[in-house]
Assembly symmetry: C2
């Protein structure tokens, strides 16, 4: 690891002796934001609840001001506002409103289409015209570190026989990037691509745990449901989008003939380098730069019908998969739905996850002055199904 | 209307000079529950917030106790706790958690399958094995009376040409019954069919507004999204399930070979008689008794993978459609996707909704002593799309 790799500025919530507290991460340390506000070093008004909810709703001017104030505050390790990063327990940082999961990687959609609908065109006819998405379960979004119980459910391994019930045999991960809405919008009024930065606070990483056998049997005609809704994990640190300006790049859909409400006039994709590790073996390095639709396009599409936004709404990119097989963001793709095992460094092989497996998704982004910014990681361990 | 038709006991929230107040509806009047509690006529502890959230979370013993106390309280019209029902403005009565929409009418699923996927088996192979469902947008659930703006979006009327953008030309309704969760459940622990009544407080009516052209173009491979997420309307009165015991009937799935977690051992369907009116013309009378899956089966399925419940979670039945064409619960079915107009009493015809149309869904249920209980109605008027 080069010395120029530093933590991205980010906000979260930590368990402390004083209860849950809003904390900020700088390049070198973690600070209690309310303690800084109490002494006048940081603007005040959003730190009392022990969640980021009030700060998310405060809007872009406040986001920029506070982020700048924290960056320029002198953090002495002996300062009681500075928290010991080792052993810091980070909590779910905000209250989730709605959760939407998109499907913005052309390679992932193609890979999954080939596996799930063999013989048909792998990309549905609408795919290049809109960011395809669906609503997920917001009540089962959990913070990194929360154990994930293997779900049980219906699957039909033999298409000629009735379905069977039991623990999923195809527990999978999906490497994703998620966007967190700060400023709400009224019902009936779409939010355009150019208003994206006024509404969306920041970014985190997301693991869209998936039970492929349950998903396959239930998925028609209304889409994913119990194959996804048992758990979705997010990283505990929200990185303000304003701090990722060096990562901005054009998205592939800039060159596609899209309808006017989806046209981007400036670079709006993110050049994030993702990594998926199972039990400390990195099994994939998905490039977020390959995503066809930008987060602003996803937001504009999600609201073009007049759907309102609430503080805490989360929307995710869908699995990130690049062109090369070692950049695919799910085991379904990496193992070709169980037919080509993935080798781990301990000599064992995986097609899908086993009980006890620990999954870690991490990411970096280009930062200012040639630095590399490390985003928060999202971590989770599989615990056995109910007996 | 027979004299034995009375309002079902129900809870809601009304706008008053004192702010939003929890109110209860009896057979003959509406009372301010907090005012009754202040004088000791009703149990106290859940009436301060101006929403039903605290009472929903209180659990079945409290639900039964309060419902009984209100039923046996003497309501003198001169009592300041009694509210004038005329002109009472009812508000959104609780904070919505997650929203799931099921698809439990065999006739509706068959009708829609024939229309949307001609040439294929109209019922997907999984349909008789599980209550098919998907997550909808909880942030756009609105209370009865809220105007609904015609959504805009992508559709592709000519499959040989690119999609076009504009107001939906196929704005539809779906007649549904919804269930509201009171008592939460922890992540990782399924809620069985027998525990249904300990978790679900009550029932309301729901209009799942749908833009069929948007839905058709976006719907594959991940299901409904913007064709539904612009608005979902619910009736303002929640009727406690304990007060609908005379309406309990067996569901058709009692006789189907379902997996053990979906087996019902007692009558768990509801014999509700629904009605759909457009501009005061009743265009359909869907029988809820025809629904294949019970609300307890929907709940057991929704949580069998370990998905948690939160107070305020809403799940809906899906469109209710009986066998006869005049019992179908959507215009897509009633007009055969626009090919067979429906005649209104003013002499006009509808295939789909026009701007200014008012839609009212209402319902009755068998009550005690030969009475008929009227549930709350859900009402909404279509306003023109953004220009």
């Amino acid at each position: 690891v080069s010395e120029s790799v530093v933590s991205a500025p980010a906000f979260g919530v930590a368990a402390t002796a004083r209860g849950p507290r809003v904390v900020a991460r700088t390049a070198s340390t973690v600070v209690d934001v309310g303690a800084l506000a109490d002494r006048g070093s940081v603007s005040d008004g959003w730190w009392q609840q022990g969640t980021l909810d009030d700060f998310l709703a405060a809007g872009r001017t406040a986001w920029q001001q506070v982020t700048g104030e924290i960056a320029t505050t002198d953090h002495d390790p002996a300062d009681p506002a500075v928290l010991e990063p080792d052993g810091l327990r980070l909590l779910m940082p905000f209250s989730v409103g709605d959760y939407v999961d998109f499907y913005c990687s052309e390679q992932h959609a193609t890979n999954l289409g080939r596996i799930l609908r063999p013989g048909q065109d792998p990309l549905s006819p609408n795919w290049r015209h809109m960011p395809i998405g669906y609503h997920g379960r917001s009540g089962t979004i959990v913070v990194s570190g929360t154990p994930v119980r293997r779900p049980r459910g219906q699957r039909r391994p033999d298409p000629a026989s009735p379905p069977v019930f039991g623990p999923t045999e195809r527990l999978d991960v999906e490497v994703e990037v998620a966007y967190v809405v700060g400023v709400p919008s009224p019902q009936g009024e779409p939010v355009s691509v150019v208003d994206f930065a006024d509404h969306v606070f920041g970014v985190c990483l997301l693991n869209d745990w998936s039970a492929r056998d349950i998903q396959l049997w239930e998925g028609q005609p209304l889409g994913p449901f119990l194959g996804k809704s048992f758990a979705t994990s997010i990283s505990p640190w929200l990185v303000p989008l304003d701090r990722l300006s060096e990562a901005l790049i054009p998205v592939p859909s800039h060159h596609a003939p899209v309808l006017p409400y989806l046209v981007e006039t400036s670079p709006a994709g993110l050049d994030l380098s993702l990594s998926l590790a199972i039990n400390d073996t990195v099994v994939s390095r998905p490039p977020y730069s390959s995503m066809f639709w930008s987060p602003a396009q996803m937001l504009a599409h999600m609201t073009v019908n007049g759907a309102s936004l609430r503080t805490g709404d989360v929307y995710a990119s869908g699995t990130v998969s690049g062109d090369a097989p070692d950049t695919w963001g799910s085991l379904a793709e990496l193992s070709q739905m169980g037919t080509r095992p993935v080798r781990l460094e301990d000599g064992t092989e995986r097609t899908f996850l086993e009980d006890g497996d620990e999954v870690v998704i991490s990411a970096t982004a280009p930062g200012p002055d040639g630095t590399v910014l490390r985003l928060g990681e999202v971590r989770g361990t599989v615990v056995p199904a109910l007996g």
